[in-house]
Every structure is written in C-alpha cells, then in structure tokens.
C-alpha cells in the first residue's frame, strides 16, 4: 500500500475536531437566538458549512486523500451549489 492510503489520523486530532464541532454548534444556536433578519440564513449556512468541512476533511479523511478524491468532492459540491443557487436566483428575481 502507498503511504497516503495508510495515513492514520491520531486520536488527538479527531478530538480537537470534535471540540471545534461542539463550539460551532454552540455558535449556531447562539446566532439563531439573535434576530439577524435575512442574514440569519446566511450565517447559519456559513457555520454549517464550516462544520461540514471539518467532517469531510478530518472524519472522512479527505485531507489525506489524493488529488482525484479532492477534485471529485469539489465537483459534486460545485454542481450542488449551481443547482440550488440557480433555482434560488430564479425564485428571488422572478416578478409576477
């Protein structure tokens, strides 16, 4: 096996990621209790994306995978962003 496949993520690193995830959860609950109007959705999604990135890069080992995996995952999320984003543009700017 190649070295990159055998990469072992240490317990300590995973624990730090868990603490960060807990703190971000606290932050999102806190942000939810403040009325930020339209920004509240953006803030919530931003924090959620930070959490999801931690999960993908450390728990799912993407940080330690080769370029192919990184490009594949990036592509999948770009496609998702296009189809959610473009639908939303249509809805937001449509005048009846």
């Amino acid at each position: 096996m190649h070295a990159e496949e055998e990469h072992i993520v240490e317990f300590k690193v995973l624990f730090k990621v868990l603490i960060a995830l807990f703190m971000l959860t606290g932050l999102t609950v806190l942000a939810g209790s403040v009325d930020l109007g339209y920004f509240s959705v953006a803030v919530a999604l931003l924090i959620a994306t930070a959490k999801a990135s931690l999960v993908v890069f450390f728990f799912m080992h993407l940080k330690y995978e080769g370029g192919l995996f990184k490009i594949m995952v990036l592509l999948a999320f770009v496609i998702l962003a296009i189809f959610i984003g473009f639908t939303f543009f249509d809805v937001a700017f449509r005048t009846n």
Partner: protein, 200 residues
C-alpha cells in the same frame, strides 16, 4: 496479493464516494424545495419553526457529532491494530445512533400527539406555509432518520466482520466506507438542524 488489495482499496473508496454524491443530490433536491418555500412563506416558516424544540435538536446534534467522532476513532484504532478498542468504539457509535433515533421518536411522538402530522385535520386548518413547513420537516428528518437506521445496521454488520477477523488492520476498507456513509448522514443533519430548528 498486496498489490491487488491496494488497487481495490482506492476503487472501493471511489465507488463509495460516487454513491455518496447521489445521496447529496437526493437531499439537495429537498433543500431546493425548502429554500424556495422559505422564500415564499417566511412568516409561516418562522411561526412553525418556533414550535420545534431547540433543546431536542441541539442534543441530537451533539449526539450525532459524537457518534461521528467515535466512528472516526474506530478506524484509527483498527489501523493501529487495536481490534478490541475498534469494536468498543463501533458499539458506542451504534448506541449513539439509537439514542438519536429514540430522541426523534419522542420528538415526532409529541408533535403527532398534538395532532401535527402530514394530512392531519389540525394541520390542514393552518396556513399553507405552515402545512408545507411541517411536510418538509417530516419528509426530510424522516428520510434522514431512515439513513441513521440503515447506517446503524451497516455498522452492526461491520462490527461482526471485525469480530470474525474478516476486516483487519491490513484490510479495513469496509470500516472506512461505513464511516464515510455515517459521516455523510452526520453532515446532512448539520444542515437540517439550523434550517428547521433555528433559522426561521
């Protein structure tokens, strides 16, 4: 043989990721629905969202994050050759999955007890936006809950494979792919939680 295993290893993981992309698109479609209806009925979503229990939602978030953590730890333990620790951690992950589902059961139970479930007479009397909010709530958390249920069964299977030495420290892709699935389920909840319990 070692060479072949190494080739299979990357192929197996790519296959798993490709499957996960289809899952992302499945939930992505539902997130599109959510965002369009949130835009159309902001007040109704706000009122309906306040009826969900933030404490339940937060507790379940912490439970699921911790289960993802123990799942990731189990892979590290197996890679280091600690079979027993790996099995303990997989069991913990499964228990946390059950805790999550039990919380969901209590939560849904309370809502259903108050007459709020899809197509219920009480719900149908409400404004259209609130009907859609609870419809999306049941569909999205229900589909997610189904994934948690399936995930815990797969973890059980992998736990048995580890116990029987069919999955070992030199051939652990089954645990890793199970982990990938489990983390995706966690990731979807990371988005569901603020959208239903907090934002609106």
């Amino acid at each position: 043989m070692t060479h072949n295993t190494s080739k299979d290893y990357i192929g197996a993981k790519i296959g798993m990721w490709l499957f996960l992309f289809t899952e992302i698109l499945l939930f992505g479609g539902l997130f599109v629905l959510y965002s369009v209806y949130l835009h159309r009925y902001p007040e109704e979503f706000h009122l309906a969202g306040q009826e969900l229990n933030v404490y339940f939602g937060t507790a379940n978030t912490l439970v699921l994050l911790t289960s993802s953590f123990s799942m990731a730890l189990s892979i590290t333990a197996l890679q280091k050759g600690n079979k027993k620790l790996c099995m303990i951690l997989l069991t913990i992950t499964m228990i946390l999955a059950c805790v999550f589902l039990f919380n969901k059961y209590l939560e849904w139970g309370a809502k259903i007890h108050h007459g709020i479930y899809p197509d219920s007479p009480t719900l149908l009397e409400r404004p259209k936006g609130e009907i859609i909010f609870f419809g999306l709530y049941y569909v999205m958390t229900g589909l997610h809950g189904l994934h948690v249920l399936i995930g815990s069964f797969i973890i059980l299977i992998v736990l048995i494979l580890v116990a029987k030495n069919r999955v070992t420290s030199s051939d652990f892709v089954a645990v890793e792919n199970t982990g990938l699935y489990w983390h995706l389920v966690d990731m979807i909840w990371i988005y569901l939680f603020p959208l239903f319990y907090l934002v609106v």
